[in-house]
Amino acid sequence: MSSLTAPEDTTTPPKVPDARPPRRSRRHLFPYLIIAPAVLLELLIHIIPMATGFWMSFVELTKFFIRRWLEAPFVGLENYSIAIDLNTPVGQELLNSFLVTVAFTALVVGLSWGLGMAAAVALQRPFRGRGVFRTLFLIPYALPLYASVITWNFMLQRDTGVINHVLVDQLGILDGAPFWLIGDNAFVSVVVVAIWRMWPFAFLMFMAGLQSIPGELYEASAIDGAGPMRQWRSVTLPMLAPVNQTMLLVMFLWVFNDFNTPYVLFGSAQPPAGDLISFHIYNASFLSWDFGVGSAMSVLLLLFLLAVSLVYLYFTQWKKEKRNA
């Protein structure tokens, strides 16, 4: 008879765990501690102000309540209806400002893109003095914003500005000296100044993108008989698609929200032709002391930009990823 194996002694107390927390849990805590400062700053800089702005758009935050802003009466969607009511000057002016900004953004982004691309392609091949051109082209991007735009303000003055001096006195292109900072020409001026500031960014991005395209592609396409235009269309553009996708979205958001250019160029009272929406909202909030309506306008602007960005991302990335999957 075989002897039975003694049953396992269940009375033996389990092994007492180490008093120190396991290394694993400390390891779990560590990433949170590392990102805590960033999360805190993000909350302070973006999330809380955005949430506050959203709340402000539903209350009557006029001069009568700015001191006790937490007690401002809730008005629901009234600020939104004031902002978009086209039967009132507030709504009409917001619509005008929106349309001006759409045209401004289309021109600035489109022309900056074209100029940046042309300059980057032109400087792609080595030649004597290429470094000088690169530096010159990047100067507008490196200059302090206020200094550069205020210089444009001086240059665009009707009687003393160098622009009219060149166009009227030296080249004789124009008969009489036009105004550039008031009237309809104000739109042309703000577009030109914004392009001057923005195109070096496109140039920089394209230069970086072009350097990542293998030279063999151009060589192979040349063997196949492709000329410069065909190479640009069939090699350069497709290879720059990832750069374009990001850059166009970023430029669109920057330009649509541009506050500094009109503020410095026109001063506190901008002409209707140059009434860009960020500055318009600033005026509605700070000059009219109506932060509720100003916030409603800001939320509408945010929703518009969000919608455009989502549509853009859907067509440029998500749809493509889905197709490839």
């Binding site: 560590f30 009568f64 000057p89 105004f179 506190s268 009272a269 209707p272 700070f286």
Partner: protein, 433 residues
């Protein structure tokens, strides 16, 4: 070892960030009974000049009371926003300068200290101040929240030699002024009868008011609502615009002049024979090269058939204590000191201001005739802008509408009476009472 350092550093960084944020949100005075923070508006030729002028005055106050004053001079472009921020956060200065036309609008925020009988007792009484100037400190029937500090009034400066050469007498009516300006205008020689700050919405709204008042029109109804479309208002604005449009005595380029200094420069350079400016223009005119004998000032004229001989709005700077001050007693002491006859006299010259005290003597010029003329305008021919909470919106909407109408004229367009009516209706509809 490295991990331990990081574990220690992360919470420290978070605490540091929170600390920084806390610092950022409290730009306030942190006053106690021994210190006061004072935000002064830019009155002199530069912010630095203001500091130089004010520092010895503030040192005297410290000697008298033992209270230190921390001074910050703020440019006009930033002052309103800074005050808004201070009111919202409750972390502002103890005492602040405001444009007197903002008096009632700022009173409506509740952010300024109400000055009742008790406070006026500490300030030396209400009777010290020119009544009309004191009235700018609050809405009718309420305790004001600011007191007058520096008085200002518009006058019309003219170039003595240009007038003599053209054989023109200083005008006493609007019609004579236009005739004189026409006689002095020579577009070919780039010399104009008048220069206006036609691109400045602050200047433009002042002249909308003055011209409307000359026509007997008010910008507000008796129950305090805006009334910008009255005939007198429309006609007054059109009369002012016509200096450039119909009379053609103003250089169209003036539509780009976004502040009064640019018209002063045109005047000092002999490009314009007349400018309408507040009495603190003397120093700027002289700094641009004219000597005191080369220019004189007369009251801004009204039409011969005007209902009122109003020559200016009641301009100037007021002084207010913030409601959130932790040193109300010290703030009132300081306000009393700044409006004492001695300080008024001392600051009247460098800041070219008119005295706001009933028995004050002007020190802003050595020209006794000019001083008397401006005092007469300030005390008898100046009316306050609407003393209503929406006054700040009036300045913006009407002033900017006038900027646009001047721009239309300058760029070759025409502004009709109907256009002015439409612009004023739009401005009126924009105001939320």
């Amino acid at each position: 070892m490295r991990r331990r350092t990081l574990l220690t550093a992360a919470p420290l960084a978070a605490a540091g960030a929170a600390g920084l944020a806390a610092c950022g949100s409290s730009s306030g005075s942190g006053s106690n009974s021994d210190t006061l923070t004072y935000w002064a508006s830019n009155q002199g030729t530069s912010l630095e000049n203001d500091k130089e002028v004010l520092t010895p005055v503030l040192e005297k106050f410290t000697e008298e009371t033992g209270i230190d004053v921390s001074l910050e001079v703020i440019g006009w472009g930033d002052l309103q926003t800074r005050i808004q921020t201070a009111i919202t956060s409750g972390q502002g200065p103890d005492v602040v300068n405001i444009g007197n036309t903002w008096g009632v609008s700022l009173q409506a925020t509740g952010g300024l200290l109400e000055l009742g009988d008790e406070q006026f007792e500490a300030l030396g009484g209400r009777d010290r101040y020119v009544p009309a100037a004191l009235a700018t400190g609050g809405a009718e029937g309420t305790d004001p929240t600011s007191i007058p500090l520096y008085g200002l009034a518009y006058g019309m400066y003219y170039n003595v030699k240009m007038f003599e050469d053209a054989g023109v007498e200083p005008p006493t009516t609007w019609e004579e002024m236009v005739e004189a300006a026409k006689a002095l205008t020579d577009p070919e020689g780039d010399v104009w009868g008048m220069s206006l700050a036609a691109g400045s919405y602050t200047e433009n709204n002042h002249f909308a008011f003055i011209n409307a008042t000359q026509n007997g029109a008010a910008l507000n109804t008796k129950d305090g609502k805006p009334s910008f479309t009255e005939d007198g208002v429309i006609d007054g604005i059109l009369r002012y615009l016509d200096l450039m449009q119909t009379d053609k005595v103003v250089d169209p380029s003036n539509a780009q002049f976004d502040n009064g200094t640019k018209s002063v420069t045109a005047f000092a350079n002999g490009k314009a024979a007349m400018i309408i400016n507040q009495n603190n223009a003397n120093a700027t005119i002289e700094s641009q090269g004219m000597t005191p004998d080369q220019f004189k000032a007369i009251p801004f004229p009204a039409p011969a058939d005007a209902v009122s001989d109003c020559a200016s709005h009641l301009a100037g700077i007021n002084l207010a204590a913030m409601r959130d001050t932790e040193n109300e007693e010290g703030a009132l002491q300081f306000m009393k000191f700044m409006t004492s006859p001695e300080t008024q006299e001392e600051l009247g010259e460098p800041f070219a201001s008119l005295p706001v005290l009933v028995d004050g003597e002007p020190t802003f010029t050595e020209d006794a005739e000019q001083a008397e003329m401006f005092m007469e305008i300030y005390s008898e021919r100046a009316e306050p802008l609407p003393l209503v909470p929406w006054e700040d919106q009036y300045e913006t909407t009407v002033g900017q509408a006038m900027n646009e109408m001047f721009a239309t004229i300058a760029t070759g367009g025409t502004v009709t009476r109907e256009d002015v009516m439409t612009a004023m209706q739009t401005a009126q509809d924009s105001i939320r009472v």
